[in-house]
Every structure is written in structure tokens, then in C-alpha cells.
Amino acid sequence: MNKLTLFGISIIAVLILLAIFAPLISPYNPQAIDVDNILSPPSRTHILGTDSLGRDLFSRMVYGARVSLEVGLVAVGVSLIIGVLFGSLAGYWGGRVDSLIMRFVDIMLCFPTFFLLITMVAFLKATVFNIMLIIGLTSWMGLARLVRAEVLSIKERDFVRYAKAMGAGNFKIISRHILPHTLPPVLVAAILGMGGAILTESALSFLGLGVQPPTPSWGNILMEGKAVIDIGWWLTLFPGLAILLAVLGYNLLGEGLRR
């Protein structure tokens, strides 16, 4: 394993630890307003400073890590379920089923994803769970294509033919003989997808369409910081860095596993 992959793993590990132990790590309640300490720069009492309502930035970012991690897991989980299902159906049955599913994938890919996201957010309540669901529902197409391509090549292998010759049913052939072999590339794609999902959530939250305040997410902290960027640089710099590092971490890990 090379150094970059290790670096990626460390970032993700820190992220996971922060998310799990958020209540223990954060020195303040992330919602606690302290009117005496509005927009105070990083100091010994508030290591990353406070925001325009006097809330401790570090504590808010630690809780924000929870949102980011969850978004990555759930959104990718949703897109995995849909992508693997559609991809394996298309690849295994071929013919009309394949054309139908793949044209649907093409259509989904034609929509500018972000506008699709914004439209869906407009119809659903912007809870954290809905945001994750929506990100998942708009990001499964790449996985479906990947799984289809893998299934197409694996279904021609001898052991699949043999399983069929010995009387195994289609479901058993797909679940026992084909899907386990698609795992390595799918895992890589899923990890890269988690980085993408975090980025999407941040972007939505930054536009005010994602996670709604007062629940902290890196995206909405960034948005709130934008208004006061000329007097409180720390409110945009640190959440921005956090997003950058998290996405970088997932990408490095994904790339490392690909090899």
C-alpha cells in the first residue's frame, strides 16, 4: 500500500472517529448561542473561532462530520441497491430488458443532475434523510453501467455456464456466481461515490437547499460564513478545508484500492 492511500485512509478514519465521538470531542453544544463571543477569531477558548451567532465552529464542524459521513454511506447505499439491481438485470438478461434499462440510464444521465436534485428537493421536505435519498436516487447510473459491463463479461465464464448446466436458477446464478465477482470494481466505485455524495450534499446545503439550519453541515456552515467572509475568514476556510480533505480522502482510498 502506498503513502497516498494510507493518507486517504487516515483522513477517513479521523472523519469516522469524529462522527462517532462527536458529543465527547466537541467542547461546546453546537447549537449553544453565546452572544458575548460573536465572530471571535480562533483562540484558546474557541480553537476555530465562533460564527455570527457566537456558536463554536469546531463543535459545529464535528457534528457536521456526522452529516457528511451519513450522506456518503446512505446515498451510496441507495445508489448501490438501484445500480446493482438494474445493472445485473440488464447485463444478465440482455436483449430488450438491457435496451430498456440502459435507455433509462441514458435518459437519467441526460438530465443535468443538479437541476434534477434541486427539483426533487423542492417536492420533498429537506430533512437530512431525504437529502441522502435524493442524492442516491440521482447517482446510481454510473454504478448500473459498471455492474452491467462486469456482468456481461462474468456471465460468459465457465463456472457460470457450469452452474446453469447443473440446474441453478437465474437468481442463484446472479447472486452466488456473478455478483461476488463484481465486488472489487463496485467497491472502488462506491468509495469514490461517497466522496461525490459529500460534495453534492455540501453544494446543496451551500445553496440553502440541503441540510437546514440549525443542524450543522459543512455546506451550510460555509453558506453562513459567506455573508461575513470579509470579517470572519475562519467561517469559510475551515469548513471548506474539511470538505476538501474528506473528498480527497475518499478519492485517494478509492484510487488506492483500484490498484
Binding site: D158, F159, R161, Y162, K172, R176
Partner: protein
């Protein structure tokens, strides 16, 4: 006695773009209960496609015609769930590449238990002890230990034994062995053949043995069918001693150890996109007559139980 399997005018066509590939084109033969039929022919003559069509395993075929009657049922007319009950249970296969025909990510034992439980009502423990018994029957030493091995940890011959054990686990009445020894070295080949012989005697199993190695067939089979260009050209018991078709004669004379003048055939196997008119063998036949180019020779019974498709008398 009714044959256990009879194939009538089997046709399997594939399409590549606009072209039609006739992989099997009007093949008829039968297998009697408990006998071994050899199916021989050059690569690409349609042996494997014939074997796979017997349980309708050719899903990508453009056209599948004729009849495959197994125990009074026409297999080509069965639905997928009905076919799944026949495949592996009544008609089992042994394939050419034992290592790649087993799933590399599961242990030998897991795969055996799975196949056993697919066709028999056994719980995991019963299936395991039955699998161990089967492994011992096919001569795998240290069955308990090899049960836990992965396919890549065993040799080709061992994997082939495992595949035979899997194929025999549900006591099929017909075993189709498609070049089961082609990729094995000679001593292993002999052991596997020995094993197949032994099992056949013990179980009253009917066997369809496919190979291009006539030397093997000579020792193993009761009757022989020779395929050329998607058709069976000769079929019967006395092929080795009295071959009637010029192609069979040439094939036999090409075997090592043949005494007498070898016949060297000119030309190549015709392309399945475009077979010659009349008898498909006529461009390479040393005895060809005018009629051979025009008319397809019908399958005739020249001697009792010896069929041949040739215009020559």
C-alpha cells in the same frame, strides 16, 4: 427397448450480424440405457453446441429446431423451471476446463453442498457427509481436507474429479462429458477415463462422451457418431473396424498407431457461414462423384445399426 435419449433433426443456428451460422444442422442420434456413445469430430464441427442443446443451454441461439426426447419428454419444449429440474439432476454435465468451471471464490465443499441441496432434500449436515462420500468415491484422497480447499489449490485432475463428483451427486441417468480429459496430462487422463468407466458400470449410467481423440473413444464407447460440418456423417457400432464414410476413414487413418496408408485430407473444414452444396464433405473427398456436388446424401442404414450419409456404395 426405448432409447433414453433420442435426438431428431436437431438444428441450432446463431446469427452474427446478418449472417447465419449453422452450428448444428440436422443432427439425429440416440443413446440406449446404460451405453456409452462417443461423439467425435474436429473443433468447430458442432459437438459442444449439440451437447449443450440437449438441455437447451444455448440461450443465444437464433433458431433451435428438431426434437430432443429424453424419457418421453421433448426437452426443447420444456419451460425454464422444468429444465432446471432436469439439468444436473437427470442429465448432468462434466465440462472441459475443470479449474475454470468451478467458482474460484467458493470452497469445493461449499459448491458441492450447494449443488446437492439444489436437487435433493438434505440439510447442510447431511449434504456435507454425502459430499464427502462422493469425493471419496471419485478417488479424492483426504476428502475432509480437500472439502475445505479452493479450486485453484487443487490440480486439474483433482478438479475434474470434483466436477465428476458434483455431476454424479444426484444420480443422473445421463452424463454428458464434453472433452473431460482434453486439458489434462496423459496419466491423469487415463485415471479420469478409468474412473468414468468404473462409475458407469456401478450406476448403469448412460454416457455421452465428446472428444476429438478417437484413441480414447476406442477404449470407452459402445457406439460412435462422427460429426463433420454441423452434421453427423456416420453413426454406429462398427465404425472402428469398418468405417464407411470417407471422412471417418481419413480420421481413423490419422490416428497415431494406425497401420496402413494414411489418407491426408486436402483443404480445410468449411466455414459454418457457407457450407458447400450437396455433400458437405465433397470438396475434400478423394472419391467424389458428380452427384455429391448436387444432392445432400440421406442417412441410410447400411448394416444393422450402422448409419452413414454418403452417396458412395
Amino acid at each position: 427397448m426405448l432409447p433414453i435419449l433420442s435426438v431428431k433433426n436437431l438444428k441450432v443456428y446463431f446469427s452474427r450480424g446478418k449472417k447465419i451460422i449453422k452450428a448444428v444442422d440436422g443432427v439425429s442420434f440416440f443413446i440406449k440405457q446404460g451405453e456409452t456413445l462417443g461423439l467425435a469430430g474436429e473443433s468447430g464441427s458442432g459437438k459442444t453446441v449439440t451437447a449443450l442443446s440437449l438441455t437447451k443451454l444455448i440461450s443465444e441461439a437464433k433458431f433451435l429446431g428438431g426434437e430432443v426426447v429424453f424419457k418421453q419428454k421433448d426437452i426443447l419444449k420444456l419451460t425454464s423451471p422444468q429444465l432446471q429440474k432436469i439439468r444436473g439432476k437427470e442429465i448432468a454435465y462434466v465440462f472441459q476446463n475443470p479449474v475454470s468451471s468451478l467458482n474460484p471464490v467458493f470452497r469445493i465443499g461449499t459448491q458441492m453442498v450447494e449443488i446437492i441441496r439444489l436437487h435433493q432434500k438434505k440439510n447442510k449436515k447431511e449434504a456435507k457427509s454425502y459430499a464427502l462420500e462422493m469425493l471419496e468415491r471419485v478417488g479424492i484422497p483426504d476428502a475432509e481436507k480437500n472439502f475445505e480447499s479452493y479450486p485453484h489449490q487443487l490440480s486439474g485432475g483433482m478438479n475434474q474429479r470434483v466436477m465428476i463428483a458434483m455431476a454424479l451427486s444426484s444420480q443422473p441417468s445421463l452424463l454428458i462429458a464434453d472433452e473431460p480429459t482434453t486439458n489434462l496430462d496423459l496419466t491423469t487422463q487415463a485415471q479420469i477415463l478409468e474412473l468414468l468407466q468404473k462409475i458407469r458400470r456401478e450406476q448403469d449410467l448412460s454416457l455421452l462422451f465428446i472428444t476429438h481423440n478417437l484413441e480414447i473413444l476406442k477404449r470407452l464407447v459402445d457406439r460412435l457418431a462422427i460429426m463433420y460440418a454441423a452434421q453427423i456423417v456416420e453413426f454406429g457400432e462398427s465404425l472402428f473396424t469398418r468405417p464407411l464414410h470417407p471422412y471417418t476413414q481419413a480420421l481413423l487413418s490419422a490416428q497415431p498407431g494406425y497401420e496402413g496408408r494414411r489418407q491426408i485430407l486436402k483443404g480445410e473444414v468449411p466455414s459454418p457461414f457457407d457450407f458447400p452444396s450437396g455433400c458437405r464433405f465433397h470438396p475434400r473427398c478423394p472419391f467424389k462423384k458428380a452427384i455429391c456436388e448436387k444432392e445432400e446424401p440421406p442417412m441410410q442404414e447400411r448394416e444393422k445399426g450402422h448409419f452413414v450419409a454418403c452417396h458412395l456404395k
